[in-house]
């Protein structure tokens, strides 16, 4: 029983990264209609930035959790203004290619600058060690990652449902044409939303820095699973991205525990099953077919 609880928490902790990053991906797709292939690279940049901040300025994880999203937001805004915006009117394929190309460039740049072996990182002392919760022993950091991500997801959800900005973003996500028709200036929100999505990916990266290898390639495998998450949750669905993120984390953990050889395949089996039963994903709207 304790083993099952342990696996569950580990799965949810791993799912936290997927949830945070997928949330960013979903918001970007919703408002811009861009399938952001560079999301894995942004996640990687978040981790690399955290490592560099620690190495050069001595900023610990606590500061990085604040600084990295801010920096990545700024970076996202620059990318959107310089590159993405020019292709928004065209077929989505163009931005797909653009963001894919951007991934290659970012990954190579990091490789050139920092090599492929990875960067060192240290956890602040307060997050090391383990906690014993009624017999279930868990690494303190995993628990922290889980709680922190849930907090961020809840905050985002509050902003989305309770604030005017959130209403506009949701309206623009779900029915962009209708939102425009009602006089909402959707275009105004495009740049900050892109930056926000990138910031979330960066935040996931910073959270991953203490217990994942910080290398230029760390985003590539992550991105593949991320797309499975978004497809399972429903492309563009904000709730779906979060729920599917944690779900995939759980599937991964229990897969690793009980069928290690199939751990990664299971995620894609789940994806295939979801597509078969609900082609639009768990929380995607079933579009009426003419």
């Amino acid at each position: 029983m304790t083993a099952i609880l342990q696996y569950a928490v580990q799965g949810l902790a791993a799912g936290s990264f997927y949830a945070l990053a997928a949330l960013g991906l979903a918001v970007i797709f919703g408002v811009l209609g861009v399938v952001n292939f560079a999301h894995g690279a942004f996640y990687m940049l978040g981790a690399v930035t955290a490592a560099v901040l620690l190495d050069t300025l001595g900023l610990t994880l606590w500061w990085s959790l604040l600084a990295v999203p801010v920096l990545m937001f700024a970076f996202g805004v620059v990318v959107e203004r310089l590159l993405v915006q020019w292709l928004l009117r065209l077929d989505p394929l163009y931005n797909l290619l653009l963001t894919f190309g951007l991934t290659l460039v970012l990954v190579e740049l990091v490789k050139q600058r920092y090599g492929v072996s990875g960067l060192p990182y240290r956890l602040p002392a307060g997050l090391q060690g383990r906690v014993d919760l009624a017999g279930v022993v868990l690494p303190r950091y995993q628990l922290f990652v889980l709680l922190f991500s849930v907090l961020i997801c809840a905050l985002v959800w509050l902003v989305m449902t309770r604030s005017r900005i959130g209403m506009i973003v949701r309206a623009a996500t779900e029915k962009p044409d209708l939102a425009r028709a009602l006089g909402i200036n959707v275009g105004r929100w495009v740049t900050p939303v892109f930056g926000f999505g990138v910031a979330l990916a960066g935040l996931a990266g910073a959270l991953a820095a203490p217990f994942r290898a910080i290398t230029a390639d760390m985003g590539s495998n992550f991105a593949i699973i991320l797309f499975a998450v978004v497809v399972i949750g429903g492309l563009g669905s904000i709730v779906g991205a979060v729920v599917a993120g944690f779900l995939v984390g759980l599937v991964e953990a229990f897969g690793q525990a009980y069928a290690p050889t199939f751990a990664q395949i299971l995620i894609f089996v789940l994806m295939a099953l979801v597509i078969l039963v609900r082609p639009a994903g768990l929380f995607g709207r079933q579009e009426a077919t003419a």
Partner: protein
């Protein structure tokens, strides 16, 4: 919106397919036997992925150093003046390695292929070497199959194999009291072969392997694998991962607190670059087998200084191994007076060698395993590190006869 979504989804799929199929451009050039007054040494390795720092582009520089040393030594007496060193990326994929090796032998005029990390890729190249009757000196791949079940006349294994790692690390740690083992390994040729070698060595030393857990390769999240490995209360968790996967695993092991339960971590294969990238404090005290360490004696250090001037970093054992392989190949060509593979092999087989990398080295004729003295090393504590890259303390020497399996036991039936 519907069609936009459909298109976006479809294009995402297409991109994913394209991604998996993309490969770099092949090398140009035609012909090129010794009759062309040209010798081509082709380095085939990971130029961009997880093993780039361990061998990669700096291996090409090490091979160039060997060529320069050869030319300096023989000057006008060199039997060949034009020597080319080429570099090709195999991306650690067996299928790409297979195609590239074939191209290198057929169109690149390669007389010898060097390096080739990733065991599954190396086995593919060995097969091409056999088909083309050209030389393949493998340095960075570890599977014993290269000099065992799948050995052939044209393939040599220069630096190490899983048997050496297992008999160095596995045996020593077991004898030091780590009797109950759980092994976590990446589920491909190297990991499977390592697990087999370690299990044999541990059992022989009086220990037991309670469980062997396969993981996907590559993989980032090891948390659950570690919990599972720890649940059988082993003395030692042995990891057979390498490169980025190893770093992921060690980070998550340190964080899991298994250390506080008295569980030790033993690392099957570790390179100095892994210690460099993760930092000494994460690895401090870890025992591992190192076929060669840059600061192990004056001769190694002198070469490492040259390498540092050339590349800006200290060499891994794979860099030194490639230098040695290239140098001994050139010496054999010089002795044979031709680049004809069979003539060169006749000069290599049975030769006893001492150079920067090989100590008490012998190029065994029976199975083409190059055996030599290796080291059991321990990662230093942060306070003991005196200079950059000063990470290892040599605990004991592993004599060639103990580190490598006897030729009769290799299972190699040399054909062709």
């Amino acid at each position: 919106m519907e069609s936009k979504r459909m298109r976006a989804g479809a294009s995402a799929l297409t991109m994913a397919l394209l991604l998996s199929a993309c490969a770099g451009a092949g090398p140009g050039g035609g012909g090129g036997a010794f009759t062309d007054d040209k010798l081509v040494l082709a380095v085939l390795n990971d130029q961009s992925g997880i093993y780039k720092d361990a061998s990669g582009p700096n291996t090409v520089k090490a091979v160039r150093m060997a060529v320069a040393d050869y030319q300096q030594k023989y000057g006008d007496k060199a039997v060949v003046t034009k020597i080319e060193v080429t570099s090709t990326d195999h991306q650690n994929k067996p299928d790409i390695a297979n195609t590239k090796a074939s191209e290198l032998y057929e169109r690149g005029g390669a007389d010898v292929i060097l390096d080739v990390p990733t065991s599954s890729a190396a086995l593919a190249v060995a097969n091409q070497a056999k088909n083309h009757k050209r030389l393949f000196l493998d340095v960075s791949a570890a599977t014993t199959a290269l000099t065992g079940a799948q050995c052939n006349k044209y393939t040599f294994q220069w630096a190490y194999n899983t048997y050496l790692l297992a008999n160095g690390t596995g045996k020593t740690v077991t004898q030091n009291g780590g009797r109950k083992w759980t092994i976590i390994y990446p589920d491909y040729e190297f990991g499977q072969n390592m697990t087999k070698s370690f299990t044999e060595a541990i059992t022989k030393a009086g220990g037991t392997v309670q469980e062997s857990i396969p993981t996907p390769f590559p993989n980032e999240n090891f948390a659950t694998f570690l919990t599972k490995a720890g649940s059988s209360a082993p003395d030692v968790i042995g990891t057979m991962h390498a490169g980025g996967d190893l770093i992921n695993l060690v980070k998550q092991f340190n964080e899991s607190g298994l250390k506080d339960d008295g569980v030790e971590l033993a690392v099957g294969l570790m390179l100095i670059n892994d210690i460099h990238s993760l930092g000494v404090e994460q690895f401090a005290g870890t025992l591992f087998t190192d076929p060669w360490y840059w600061n192990m004696d004056a001769e190694a250090r002198a070469w490492a200084d040259r390498f540092l001037a050339e590349t800006g970093t200290r060499p891994s054992f794979e860099h030194a191994g490639n230098y040695s392989a290239a140098l001994q190949y050139l010496e054999a060509v010089q002795a044979a007076g031709t680049d004809d593979a069979d003539a060169v092999i006749a000069k290599l087989e049975g030769k006893k060698v001492n150079d920067v990398f090989l100590r008490n080295g012998e190029i065994r004729a029976q199975d083409h395993s190059v055996v030599h003295d290796a080291n059991l090393a321990r990662v230093k504590k942060p306070g003991d590190v005196k200079e950059d890259w000063d990470y290892e303390e040599i605990v004991t020497k592993i004599p060639a006869a103990e580190g490598f399996p006897p030729a009769e036991a290799s299972g190699c039936a040399m054909t062709s």
